[in-house]
Symmetry: C2
Subunit: 155 residues, 2 copies
Amino acid sequence: MARRKSLAASSCPVARAVDIVGDRWALLIVRDAFDGVRRFGEFQENLGIARNILTDRLRLLVAADVFEVVPASDGSAYQEYVLTRKGEALFSVIVMLRQWGEAHLFARGEKHSQLIDRASGKPVPKLGVRRANGAVLTPAGTFVKKVPAPSPDSK
Amino acid sequence: MARRKSLAASSCPVARAVDIVGDRWALLIVRDAFDGVRRFGEFQENLGIARNILTDRLRLLVAADVFEVVPASDGSAYQEYVLTRKGEALFSVIVMLRQWGEAHLFARGEKHSQLIDRASGKPVPKLGVRRANGAVLTPAGTFVKKVPAPSPDSK
């Protein structure tokens, strides 16, 4: 895959986020990490991904401070890929993708995996964008306030 | 870009979602649509995307029922790309990407665009995964319950 223009300098937080995780493999690697996967070979087997692509994506995710590389937890010679605090914060993104998929990409009655709250044994409740007062917020109820462009004579 | 193995038949809702929107351009096109963009030329100009790639991504998003094509709202000969109800439901995904970006991809004091609640004029509150009782839920507090594999002698 040709490397594309980076969005890392954009003033839009969505663009910067997408620059790092706007990739099917990156998102599936992060999903698997939440599911307990830590080793190269496990990611490769779970995802059915080519070795060179997995190497590339893990390298980018480590460079972006989403994963860190640590010695194997069992004392063996393996390396393990562990989510950083920044990587763990992608949990909400993965949960929203899951909830969108559950609501819109399965036929009625078709079975899908479920994200369960260990404490209650029940599925994790649906998330949604809400106002400060708790009311549901639709896209039309919002607007994006852009960063003003610097004036031409500012240094 | 070579077409890759589809995840559309996966029993994991994250995988099915990623199959459709696990792509930087797809996510940025959806972001722009929430920002009011409707026309091919506007997407192209905003995103600085090659014409053939934009054509491909819009075609896939229409095929996935994320966008529908409608006649121009001003009666001109243009076509417009409008989010379906399923597409509008990606709002939470885009907002979560924004909030992750805001929290982790900007230096302290660095300016970024903000998502504002029109009614209050204030930034949209931070979302997070929560238990039914409102407590914050961390990845470790959850597990994924998989769909059992069909038994070998089931038809």
